[in-house]
Symmetry: C2
Subunit: 426 residues, 2 copies
């Protein structure tokens, strides 16, 4: 039931005819015309002329091909990758941005997440969350759930059923939490083990568990160390928050006897080349060096950072330290689930730091497209790969700046269509 | 043919039953429940109980009433007022933001506007521009057209036909313009007179001409003085650009022998209490004082200012000088025609100036709602007016942060429905 939809369709292939755009490096989006053939979620051929369909059919004689012809003005591009998003917080998007992070967590976020102690509530909300994400073209997401194992498993099931690719995390927090929204150390580790097993039991190649200590403010050292061991033992990715807000950074220092945020995580063994660190606004040079050495990815969440008045992450500075940077919507710290909005916010954030500091150039639409697609994932995502580059990039410029989910007509994950039927409005 | 639609329907009234939100001052959005009765574009009754319909019917026995019942979660609010938008530039939205203002004008904007020498092109584009604006809930707009009188008259006709409320300006420029996109002094004044007559001949109470010198970079003193006299003689509003970009500010100083931007306009007589000045990012204290004395409104265009890397207008500073501030999308300097996007951008812009300068508090969603509705217009717009205030503002918070045109189900101008049929998606 929860196996990948592509795996359920052996012998069925898809041929796309038309324009496709991809980005293998941040400098330029490559726009090409031709044919792409997809079989079981893998691009098996990229040809330049519609006549080449015959060659493809000859090469795979046993396959039944479905043709998708793109119209003029339409293009195919890699799905978006949202590296940081809180699925349970979707009902709160757009609420409470008049308060700072730690206060907002207490007043809005924790009460919202507590409701997921009810599995039916989780089932109901998560179904629409995944639908919304796919409708926005997000084919891969790194989701925070809540501390509730069963409810977060419902998120994994919703993702599997809808055919999205995702990393799903049961949140861990045993420290400094609200009374009705906390776990003990033992409970947290035990439930996480069970959660990992639960996700693996879905036997869906697109859906994976991810170790998710909320942040150093709500996890003690023992919990973080225990979680890093679980990650290691099961070869799992890790996701958490880091250095989002000045008060939070100070608070972590207080809690951990003067150690900085990065060292706290490093000593617990959480910094690996499979670790996603959300925000990273106030990291010192030495912290950035350590993060680079460990090979972690920093997830830039520009909409959230401005909405919650956290500050602005200087992406150019991270790049100078050769730290890998991806993008996240951070719903509901960010109000929009759309990676198009996230890309525009990333450009805006880089421009406003450019005004007082014109030495570093703002991010371009080429760069944020790269960050939102192939640049986000180090190895997970296969991009398109072909040769003839077209000079006209204006169509994709307009899409990035003025598009919304209505301009995303169809979405495919692993070769399977997961969104269809909407007409383009622009 | 071009008279107001409301005037075409004597004896027809509308009764809205449900929640309505309005804002008579920036501090708080007032949300109320009850009945609003609209007759010929004017709110003639605001009652608190559905039972009061009988009283309304009794008070206006000759009127045929149509009832509109709002569902739970829906609310009625004043239409949005876009004080600065370039109708001809809509096809360019989302393009060319990698270049600075003056270069962008030469490479993208002027060539786009030149196409409106063809009246058929104008007819085709302006119809969709007005549809798009109404679909975003913009019931009042201050449009820049192009220098072409007939094409800009087509914009006025499109507005009149669609039932929007608007100020339409034939753009004036006789100086420092591209070869094929300029006028002589005489031509500019003569065509403007004819344009005014043309708009007045439409005899539509909602559509008015507005005097529109592009900016001091493309108008010499004689033209600006001539235009200010035309404005005075015909009691017209005036719209132009001011102090958007540092190079432009320097250039104006060069062109006008060291005079600052505000003085240049003042000496030409362009600064009146009916003048809209777009941008105003780099105005000095003395310029702001003069603008306040003259009673002009500064139009804040936050999306454009960031997209074109112009800078950030500090709205709190303008407010300190008690200068009236409204909002504009500035399409295509801004990429979005939606005033909801504009409101969010205004909040964002105020937050990013707040980071280094935490003395001035960021704008709130209450304040931008006020700026986008009743606060924008000094006298043009009638707002709602009733008493019982509800405490829950979360529904409107979500609308401001997460809404788009799909969340705007119906739009009324002057009591006439100008958008209908779309279902809410959120």
């Amino acid at each position: 039931m929860f196996s990948s939809k592509a795996e359920q369709l052996p012998g069925k292939g898809l041929i796309f005819i038309g324009t496709y755009a991809h980005s293998l490096e941040p400098v330029q989006i490559t726009i090409e015309k031709g044919i792409l053939a997809v079989l079981n979620g893998v691009i098996v051929a990229a040809e330049k002329s519609p006549g080449d369909i015959a060659c493809i059919k000859q090469k795979f004689p046993e396959v039944e091909w479905e043709k998708v012809e793109l119209q003029s003005g339409q293009f195919l591009c890699p799905g978006f990758i949202d590296l940081h998003v809180h699925a349970p917080q979707f009902p709160n998007a757009g609420l409470g941005y008049d308060m700072p992070l730690l206060e907002w967590l207490q007043k809005y976020t924790y009460p919202c997440e507590q409701k997921y102690s009810d599995v039916n509530h989780a089932k109901y909300v998560y179904k629409s969350v995944v639908e919304k994400m796919l409708s926005c073209g997000t084919t891969t997401a790194c989701y925070f759930g809540t501390i509730h194992r069963e409810s977060t498993l419902e998120l994994a099931k919703a993702v599997a059923l809808a055919g999205q690719r995702a990393f799903i995390g049961k949140v861990n927090m045993n420290f400094g939490c609200p009374e009705n929204y906390s776990e003990s150390l033992e409970e947290s580790l035990e439930e996480t083990k069970k959660f990992i097993d639960g996700v693996l039991e879905l036997k869906n190649s697109l859906v994976k568990p991810i170790i998710t200590p909320r942040f150093a403010v709500t996890c003690d050292s023992k919990l973080m160390t225990g979680l890093s061991k679980l990650a290691e033992a099961n070869s799992l990715h890790i996701q958490t928050h880091i250095s989002e807000n000045t008060s939070e950074v100070e608070f972590v220092k207080e809690l951990f006897h003067g150690k900085n945020y990065t060292d706290v995580y490093d000593q617990a063994g959480l910094l690996t080349n499979r670790t996603l660190l959300a925000h990273g606004i106030y990291l010192s040079d030495s912290e950035l060096e350590l993060i680079r050495e460990r090979g972690c990815t920093v997830v830039h969440c520009p909409n959230s950072n401005v909405s919650l008045k956290s500050g602005i992450c200087k992406v150019r500075r991270l790049q100078k330290h050769t730290v890998n940077v991806g993008l996240g919507t951070d719903v509901s710290g960010g109000y929009s689930a759309s990676m198009l909005n996230c890309m525009r916010s990333a450009i805006d954030a880089s421009i406003v730091t450019f005004f007082p500091d014109s030495e570093s150039s703002p991010l371009t639409y080429n760069e944020v497209f790269y960050m939102a697609t192939s640049g986000a994932a180090k190895e997970e995502i296969s991009s398109f790969n072909a040769n003839d580059s077209l000079t006209d990039s204006e169509i994709i410029q307009k899409f990035i700046y003025t598009g919304d989910d209505r301009n995303i007509i169809a979405v495919y994950v692993d070769g399977v269509q997961v969104k269809t039927g909407l007409k383009s409005s622009q």
